[in-house]
Symmetry: C2
Subunit: 496 residues, 2 copies
Amino acid sequence: MESDLRRLRERLAEIFDLQRTGAVLAWDQRVSMPSGGGPARAEALATIGRLAHEKFVHEELGALLERLRPYEESLEYDSDDASLIRVTRRDWEKACRVPAELRADMLRAGAIGHQIWVEARATNDFATFLPALETNLELKKRYIDCFEWDDSPYTPLLDDFEPFMTTTEVAEIFDTVRPVLSELVRDAPEIDASFFDVHFDADRQREFAERLIETLGFERGSWRLDPTVHPFCTSFSNRDVRLTTRYLDQGLDSVWSTMHESGHGLYAHGIAASLERTPLAFSPSLGLNESQSRTWENLVGRSRPFWEHWYESLQETFPEQLGYVSLEAFLAAVNRAEPGLIRVEADETTYSLHVILRFDLERRLFEGKLEAKDLPEAWREAMHEYLGVEVPDDTRGVLQDTHWSGGAFGYFPTYALGNVISLQIWATVREAIPDVDGEMRAGELNGLSTWLTENLYSLGRKFTPKETIERLTGSPTIDPQPYLAYLREKVSALAA
Amino acid sequence: MESDLRRLRERLAEIFDLQRTGAVLAWDQRVSMPSGGGPARAEALATIGRLAHEKFVHEELGALLERLRPYEESLEYDSDDASLIRVTRRDWEKACRVPAELRADMLRAGAIGHQIWVEARATNDFATFLPALETNLELKKRYIDCFEWDDSPYTPLLDDFEPFMTTTEVAEIFDTVRPVLSELVRDAPEIDASFFDVHFDADRQREFAERLIETLGFERGSWRLDPTVHPFCTSFSNRDVRLTTRYLDQGLDSVWSTMHESGHGLYAHGIAASLERTPLAFSPSLGLNESQSRTWENLVGRSRPFWEHWYESLQETFPEQLGYVSLEAFLAAVNRAEPGLIRVEADETTYSLHVILRFDLERRLFEGKLEAKDLPEAWREAMHEYLGVEVPDDTRGVLQDTHWSGGAFGYFPTYALGNVISLQIWATVREAIPDVDGEMRAGELNGLSTWLTENLYSLGRKFTPKETIERLTGSPTIDPQPYLAYLREKVSALAA
């Protein structure tokens, strides 16, 4: 038994090294690689990904997991070993259901689809993209056929990003959220934010972003920040976190993009060292991970107490641009609610509506209620209904996101689930750290990140998302009410 | 046969991807990685290295190579396929001779030795380092026992870096070089270079270095330049070349360090596309590779015609530091010969003496004529004899280089062989491009890099070093006379 466990851990560590190595290749590709390196990088990524997958679906791994069943049952459910065997077994069974050929077809179609989409978006030409999209959908339907499902064929897709969550559960949450948000957006006052529409020096943006990060709770020498086109966060261990942001010519988006990626980064930084080099050294779901990027971006990074500490320093960094702008005006601008066309530019209040729209369309596609060719029209209708805006072209409509081009269906809802979950966790934080506002006002964020690390981040992927949420909040249910109450208060404060 | 060849190419491509992925991990470690990432990176590097090695020494690869022998014999010696099979077979036979356990022991001892050396060098404490050094030597002797050799047990070590070269051949070349250089150093006049001992702004150094690189012949989007502690060059394909340099607070070392690494980079950039993802997509030996870094650093980068084009621009970049320095004074300073203690700081004339000293000591160690404990004293004696300098401590003596701590014996001589070979090739360049000086004077280096690419770089590792040199120069012999004539002329020009 002990030698079986050792052998399991060795095999998983090797696979982990391959996965993290693939992540280094991907980070380098997006942050550093000269454009000429593309073709060779695609080969290297494919090779590393294939080796990791082959090693994972190996039948010896299944045999090890089977032989370790009695040992697992002899352990506490919460123990690292029991969790490792339990979580790995589910991963293994899922991975083995998908034929290698289908997996390769999906990867290839996604790569081709992405290329076509780039061109189609640039030329506002949905028709060119449609065949690639239909191929992706067809392959995903074959993927769904590898699994069993009860409520909707969409559920197996969701499970890849939000494990154990059903389409019905998501729909129920979103059905509660959607009308409230649509109403809030309609009622929100117009706020002047024109002081952001001027030049902000990139070097100063970077200096300010790095000063912020240094106070969030990262250990020294455990992170770095680089500029990139589409900001993201990745990590190669809990002490090698790679944050990225972008410094636009106008405005201070880099501040909130940095806070957002730092939330992902703090999660990776907080994973317990005992889980390193195992499949547990990740977060339990994209929704839970996103809940933390949203926590640091919005609940901290758009809050009054946070800026009561930082605003003077921001004004000193950009005296010409912000010297004459009051804290009140600044806070109103960064908390404003304004319907728009583009998801990635959406504010806190409208963001989830963009996501719910995509979820609705995806679900209808896979439930046979919508055909791919009718997506542009369905998009326009939904944008009108949910956000009250008219879509002028597909580039700013159905073609705006990369996800579908690469075959990622079921990913979008996790963004909005993250928003919802972040407020549930925040309510627990407020109970555990009653003076969290005072700490933020003092520029002291270590207490918050330490608490979140101990109670959430360190658990890694030992438990399911619901088990994890229950450990934190006392209930496994994802409840949208705290989120809605928070947004209601935000919008009414704007109107005041 | 065709399917065997395809299978061979597939296996080699996979191994190549792993090797180049390891190179990405190593580049990132030295250029980007936060310090906290060290432990996880060591694991990832070990896993990738082990997988590449396991896949290479696999018996099926040997069987494929054996089955392909008749096909190989049916082909022209020069063809890509014949070269691929021939070169891979030699690599495979060499790799299979070394037991996996010994290989692992050497890697481990090298990693431990490196850590101990860092501390020992910092504290000038050779005695602390001695046991680790002895372990490395002991393991290398076991490594030598895996091979057959005629003239010296040192020859198998040399073969890892300079294939097919014997200790006797190297000794013969160095015995010719050493007395001439010692004499030149004694006779060289003192030159004032104090204008370099002032501050040079790092950003301006970087801008100038990048402007230089842009003129050398790299395709756009095929390289990048980053600062690092110990400059090096690596590449992940012939269109993804990573140059590094360092910007010291004083002086302009970054210029020649950039030119040096660009020489390595141009070699990598010039490898024929048809050799990509095979074991032929490298240079035939470290000596040949170094011949090109030296060509661009010294034969181009310290030449009068080159600076007749660039010096004005350099003065404009650093008007306070160089505005009052004449081209004559500048050229004399960058070509001066001055004995010193440290190899990596040595000038063009003294550099090979540092290398020959290390070769002599290594050879005596492995031929049983010197014990490791007597190295510090032997070092002092040789420095006195070769360069006429007294070594004040081991930090600036036997402990200065990292190579031995990691177990790299047989590497040093390739530096001096590179110097020697660079002048042989340069003589051919002068015949092929009679007006190479005129081109440099016009800031036009594309002709030179194109010629070197077509006649040398593009060949990759298809031929042995000697075959490669013969193709270029008409003779397979490494002849030190052009090198010595070049240095004699340099030193006498300084005295004039």
